[in-house]
């Protein structure tokens, strides 16, 4: 019923960031956004505008309950970014391009002129950075830093 009303007034109700897995490994697929449920929802397959509730204000660095990489110190932003965007980053490192790769390059202070080479290097070292399907973001950060410095 709420969904129908949302449709009518063109707004939608809240979603929150959630943790899919209970583990502290924080791998692929552990950062998802909850929210869409209910029979009416599924049957209408509708999405509408969003009004988010319960969002916190301050942007804090955190590792979001994930294990910290060895190279955590001095790389807080990188750690947070990788943990939050691991799925997309995996796809884009594989493709050798993408804004998330660019963001990692930026956080590692890679000069703009060197970014194409940097992306190619990450792609070439994909299996080193992502050795298995259950790799954790902490390991990914460490490996990326290793590859970047190699």
């Amino acid at each position: 019923m709420k969904r129908l009303a949302c449709l009518i007034v063109g707004i939608l109700c809240f979603t929150t960031v959630a943790f899919a897995g209970g583990n502290t490994g924080c791998g692929i697929g552990t950062m998802i956004f909850e929210g869409k449920d209910g029979i009416l929802w599924e049957s209408l397959a509708v999405t509408t505008n969003q009004i988010c509730a319960n969002q916190t204000f301050g942007i804090t660095f955190g590792t979001l309950g994930c294990d910290k990489p060895g190279s955590f110190a001095g790389n807080e932003k990188l750690t947070e970014f990788v943990a939050s965007n691991l799925d997309t980053l995996t796809r884009e490192i594989a493709a050798g391009r993408g804004e998330s790769v660019n963001a990692v390059a930026d956080l590692l202070k890679v000069a703009p002129a060197d970014r194409a080479t940097f992306s190619a290097k990450l792609q070439a070292n994909f299996t080193r950075i992502f050795p298995a399907s259950d790799v954790t973001s902490a390991v990914v950060v460490d490996r990326i830093v290793e590859v970047a410095n190699s």
Binding site: G10, I11, I32, G35, N49, Q50, T90, E99
Partner: protein, 633 residues
């Protein structure tokens, strides 16, 4: 000592004492002097001050849009800029010892402190020295260098999303957009509320609205990955200092709640206050009285020269779509199989497709897999295995070129027709001529120019149509519409959404007597492209309930509706509609209707529509021909 001439040293000493006193008075400005100075320079009426308190001109003088009492130092602060200014100055001068660390007014209101300090030319030593640990950490983390206005456009399966949504992004230096900080104004919704409470509270301001600050990548994930909406990013020409001032003001209002009104004091309206705080010469909020539609706020920012041409961030669904269009059927089929887990990447690599095609197919499949997971169609384990398989295979293919077609940018939101429509129609029904006038508050139907909108989306509420036949002296209410939503979503290789519609109105033309009846209609079905983006067709199974307002006698019909739309050119559009409903338990005959509608959009403001139709029912058979001129504003 005062006796003239007696002691030169004495006089000198006295003069020194006097000048020392005078000098120390000049240095030791206190709140009293500061208030006096502020009064002299009329600081309370300056745009710099007014913009920080969100004052608006109300009927009874100035009133702040902020409802929360805790935002103001003065009990009259909400309606009296001067009393608020003087109370703020007093608060600034209170000693640090009186406050918990970090909660001194200078820490809580840094923008006000800056404006007051600069206007009164205060020196660093004039105000109490305070440590603002949290605020300093906030500013360091944000490192504001610039601001971008973000507009989330409509998604096909969601007619309500046509209203759009705006937020701001604080960028630091030249950083990658994804790393910016999103500033979002939204309602705090009680998850326990049911649908009606939700609609009622949203419309009447019973939800509190507040700002939130979150990493922009989260917004991209929400809008892009979850809702499949494109984002338009309009760079703003705020200077570094203006951006910092905006961030400082955001700190001031971060915890403050205002009443959230879905229609006017909504997301788009409230972020305008932040822009006005950054640059007080901007006149944004004052341009709106009544409804605030998000795209209108973007148009205004463009018109006032603070925003410029947008960058486009396509949703993953759109990327899958444009990439698929560059591939052969074989490659697209492969991509679908890979995405569904029906084919392993190894098999694809062994195929005879070119390296480019393999690479693109894998990229599509990986993105589709992620979408499947986010929409809970597959489990975490299956997702991980599949994504790992696809991405590992892709990485082995090396760097490929970006297909130029995928860089094509669709029509910007600035090409859409405006939200309110008034229409003048000349028509004939069964050879009796009529003149008709119609007013619709919002927003877009299938005959309106579609440029800038997703195909197949319709949302109308409310509207009113009045008609006068040439024989009659009477102007009659022809239709009073409450809501009419249509969502035609053509299926494709990857996504197979449902198409549906729902509507409720009070209308004529449904029965022999041509009286006004309540009509509730709805249904669902499917749609397909006959020619991508040009021709679409749909078929829905529908029902309708026709109720007489006086007797409340109703009849229920079951049947179908079908349609075809052809976008002949960017401006010309042809719509064919057909419906048939039977009334099984009443012994009355079925009714049919068919219509052909040709529309032409001249620009954002004007369009014309030629319509021919026939409605046949139990006891009536009406032909209708009409020509309409639509004006949008």
């Amino acid at each position: 000592m005062l006796a003239g001439g007696r002691s030169l040293i004495g006089r000198l000493a006295f003069l020194l004492l006097l000048s020392a006193l005078a000098a120390s008075n000049a240095l030791a400005i206190d709140s009293h002097n500061a208030v006096g100075l502020a009064r002299d320079i009329k600081l309370a009426e300056s745009p710099e001050w007014l913009s920080l308190l969100h004052y608006r001109d109300a009927l009874t003088g100035r009133e702040s849009a902020i409802d929360a009492k805790e935002f103001f130092f003065s009990p009259e602060g909400r309606t009296d800029p001067a009393s608020e200014l003087y109370a703020t100055i007093e608060a600034f001068f209170t000693p640090a010892s009186r406050w918990l660390p970090g909660s001194h007014p200078l820490c809580r209101y840094p923008a006000r402190a800056k404006v007051v300090g600069e206007a009164l030319k205060l020196a660093p030593g004039d105000l109490p020295r305070v440590e603002c640990v949290e605020y300093d950490a906030y500013m360091e983390r944000l490192d504001p260098g610039g601001v971008t206005l973000i507009f989330a456009s409509a998604h096909m399966e969601s007619p309500g999303s046509m209203f759009g949504h705006t937020l701001l992004r604080i960028d630091s230096g030249e950083k990658v957009g994804m790393l910016g900080s999103a500033v979002n104004y939204a309602a705090s919704v009680d998850p326990e509320d049911n649908g009606f409470e939700f609609a009622f509270k949203g419309l009447s301001g019973l939800y509190p609205g507040r700002f939130s600050l979150l990493p922009y990548w989260e917004k991209i994930a929400e809008y892009g990955n979850m809702e499949q909406r494109d984002l338009w990013e309009y760079p703003l020409n705020l200077t570094r200092e203006e951006s910092r001032l905006m961030a400082m003001h955001l700190w001031e209002i971060k915890a403050v709640e205002s009443d959230y009104f879905f229609l006017d004091e909504n997301c788009s309206y409230n972020i305008l206050f932040l822009l006005e705080a950054a640059r007080p010469t901007l006149r944004l909020t004052s341009e709106f009285s009544g409804w605030v539609i998000p795209i209108d706020t973007v148009d205004l920012a463009l018109k006032q020269g603070v925003a410029s041409e947008p960058a486009f961030r396509p949703s993953p669904a759109r990327i899958i779509d444009t990439l698929s269009a560059t591939l052969s059927d074989e490659a697209v089929n492969a991509a679908k199989k890979l995405g569904d887990g029906d084919m392993e990447a190894k098999r694809l690599l062994e195929s005879t497709l070119s390296r480019e095609e393999k690479a693109r197919a894998l990229e599509i499949a990986a993105s589709f897999t992620q979408s499947n997971y986010l929409n809970r169609r597959i489990s975490l384990d299956r997702y991980r295995t599949r994504l790992f398989d696809l991405t590992t295979a892709r990485s082995g293919l090396g760097i490929t070129d970006v297909p130029p077609e995928s860089l094509k940018i669709p029509a910007t939101p600035q090409t859409t027709h405006h939200s309110t429509r008034v229409a003048l129609t000349l028509g004939a029904e069964e050879e009796e001529g009529y003149v008709q006038v119609s007013l619709r508050s919002a927003y877009h139907d299938l005959t309106d120019p579609v440029i800038g909108f997703p195909e197949g989306s319709q949302i109308q509420f409310p509207w009113l149509t009045a008609r006068k036949y040439q024989g009659d002296g009477v102007v009659r209410l022809q239709e009073l519409g409450f809501v009419d939503i249509v969502s035609i979503n053509p299926i494709d290789r990857f996504y197979k959404p449902l198409s549906w519609r729902v509507g409720f109105s009070l209308t004529r033309g449904l029965t022999t007597d041509d009286d006004l009846k309540f009509l509730l209609k709805g249904g669902a079905g499917g749609a397909t492209w006959l020619k991508r983006d040009k021709v679409a067709a749909w078929l829905l199974a529908t029902g309708r309930v026709v109720t007489s307002p006086d007797t409340l006698g109703s009849r229920v019909g079951l049947g179908m509706e079908s349609g075809l739309v052809v976008n002949q050119t960017e401006r010309a559009r042809l719509l064919l509609e057909m419906s048939a409903h039977a009334y099984p338990y009443l012994g009355r005959g079925p009714d049919f209707s068919v219509a052909v509608r040709q529309s032409y959009g001249f620009n954002r403001d004007w369009a014309a529509l030629l319509s021919i139709g026939r409605t046949k029912g139990d006891g009536f058979d009406r032909d209708e021909l009409s020509l309409t001129l639509n004006y949008y504003f």
